[in-house]
Symmetry: C2
């Protein structure tokens, strides 16, 4: 499938390598760099180079796997590498990895010499189904996720679901959480399909997610309105994720979003936006299809402090994107701390019950 | 005068404060910050706040005056300040200063939470006549000028020529060099006027420069083609500027550009793009109206190494924007090092003769 995003294409079928080869022939970069982590270096780079022999000459930049690489220090190291190689404005950066690599590499490319071309080759389910569309990039800063970044489109995204074979199961489930999210906020039919199939037929789920997210992003490229529905689960989720680093029990992004979605479904119910039946349906589907991550070590005070720094907040109010229904979401819903505390406790009970 | 840039207005007459007040009333930011250096804090901030009482509550962020503040470390400090103040996406940053402050502040704002609003209030002639239009921002990195940055438009630019009264003469002459540049690359009549009036009637020169530069930038917002004519004097100029830091005899930006323009005029002549008469005319005008900066302490090897890292280079060729005539410029002219060496020596002789 070829999905047309704003100014670039996302290729999700077997034509990806032909398309990448064609791109490299038609737009030969002055120099080419591939950003990987140690996992994609080992498991994905060899097959990428086999598929695209033109990349054999590319310089490899390796960062450590994990969220801690989305830092200003690592970004600075990448800029040093590019600058030492005298990479000019016609260079190309290929980001081969999960969301950490595509977010970090996208940010580095978007500001190096005021912007150079980059291509994303996502290797995790999360990066394929979610980060591949939307043009967001960024690094974490001062303990806040994606605090520094830009909206910049890659020149293309090549999705090769074969890379999923090398992924551990927790990474698959983390990515699947974002697929559930896109269904919950925008497409009830896709949700019904998902809760039946769960992790079966991932390539189809990836394409469906991209198509749904792309529709939303096209209407609101700079995240000024509609697009905030994509933040369902993410207000609580980002705070959980950042807090989990502080207690040295890091959650994967999708795990944090899964917990965040359950909390925010509970908030939707407390705000009388969905009924008890819908809350139970969502909770049941999550309990059946996922292992709810353990957040018992997370410091609640950290969590509430981090919530205050969410990018969506205005005038120090806490604003959430909450569900109206399955397949429908309302943005900018103000929620006070006591309700969030109840949602936090609700989640903890569910996770405890599942144990 | 009100000049319409791509998506924002540049106000260069006495209506600027009424216009700023109106903007603040119509788009009240969730929080407001003013970025200054110690000079603009003392000489410009009080009158800005008198003109715009709404700014009395703004939080002041002060950086040291000088190019060394255009660094990743200072940018990180600014992001920390914003983050500690829980500044959200509806904040506003007002950059009150010369090109260092507007470049640094513009960059910080353009990536903080993926982009927040900023207004530029330029206080130097350089920032008024040149940096006020074009949407470029950036910081220096690894010894290279503006290595990291974005193209992001401010929401408005307010030019108040009264601020020039507080500027030392060398700053005025530095700014005037960029005014001469815009005349040299795009408007022979403006050039003729300039060499007669020199630093008389600066407000008129500022407006004329902005109008000329704006025409060019509108045709090429992302610096892909035509806009490169604005780089006349800057290939050699940036390398001189960076090299001058290494020998601890920092040149002002406009001083480096002045020297760069003379070198590149000599290159234009060596490349047979202008005649000897035109070269002499330009050299004569510069000798009469400016004190040519002393570059005798600059290490030539540094200079040539830094030239290699110019953003305009492609495939490791050295590319210049050179004059075809007074008022006309050609981009992407490849020049080999021996010619640059001759131009470098030519400049040194002129500077020596002027002494």
């Amino acid at each position: 499938m070829v999905i047309q995003a704003n100014q670039y294409k996302i290729i999700t079928d077997d034509t990806w390598s032909a398309s990448l080869n064609r791109f490299l022939q038609q737009h030969p970069p002055s120099s080419c760099f591939i950003l990987c982590d140690e996992n994609t270096l080992q498991h994905c780079l060899p097959s990428l180079i086999t598929s695209c022999p033109l990349l054999a000459e590319a310089e490899i930049i390796e960062v450590e796997a994990g969220e801690q690489s989305k830092s200003l220090e690592i970004a600075a190291q990448i800029w040093h590498t590019l600058s030492e190689a005298q990479a000019d404005r016609d260079m190309l950066l290929i980001n081969l990895g999960g969301g950490v690599v595509t977010d970090l590499g996208g940010f580095c490319a978007s500001v190096y010499k005021r912007g150079v071309n980059f291509i994303n080759v996502p290797t995790s389910l999360l990066a394929m189904a979610d980060a591949s569309v939307g043009a967001k990039n960024g690094i974490d800063f001062a303990g806040i996720k994606n605090m520094i970044g830009t909206f910049t489109e890659p020149v293309a995204v090549f999705v090769n679901p074969h890379f999923l074979r090398t992924l551990p199961q927790n990474q698959i489930m983390s990515g699947l959480a974002e697929v559930y999210k896109i269904a919950l906020v925008s497409d009830r039919r896709f949700w019904s399909k998902l809760i039946k199939q769960n992790s079966q037929d991932l390539p189809a789920h990836i394409s469906a997610s991209i198509v749904l997210k792309n529709k939303i992003v096209k209407k609101d490229p700079l995240d000024k309105g509609l697009r905030k529905i994509l933040n369902f689960g993410h207000t609580a989720g980002h705070a959980l994720e950042s807090a989990s680093f502080l207690c040295n029990k890091p959650l994967l992004h999708g795990e944090a979003v899964l917990a965040g979605m359950l909390m925010e479904s509970h908030l939707s119910w407390q705000k009388k936006m969905i009924g008890k039946k819908t809350l139970d349906l969502i909770t049941g589907a999550f309990m059946e299809n996922f292992t709810l991550p353990d957040i018992s070590l997370i410091n609640e005070a950290d969590f509430f402090r981090l919530l205050q720094n969410d990018k969506k907040n205005k005038n120090k109010q806490l604003l959430f994107s909450l569900l109206n229904d399955i397949g429908s979401c309302k943005t900018n819903v103000e929620v006070k701390e006591p309700l969030i505390k109840k949602a936090f406790d609700y989640y903890k009970r569910q996770a405890h019950d599942q144990d």
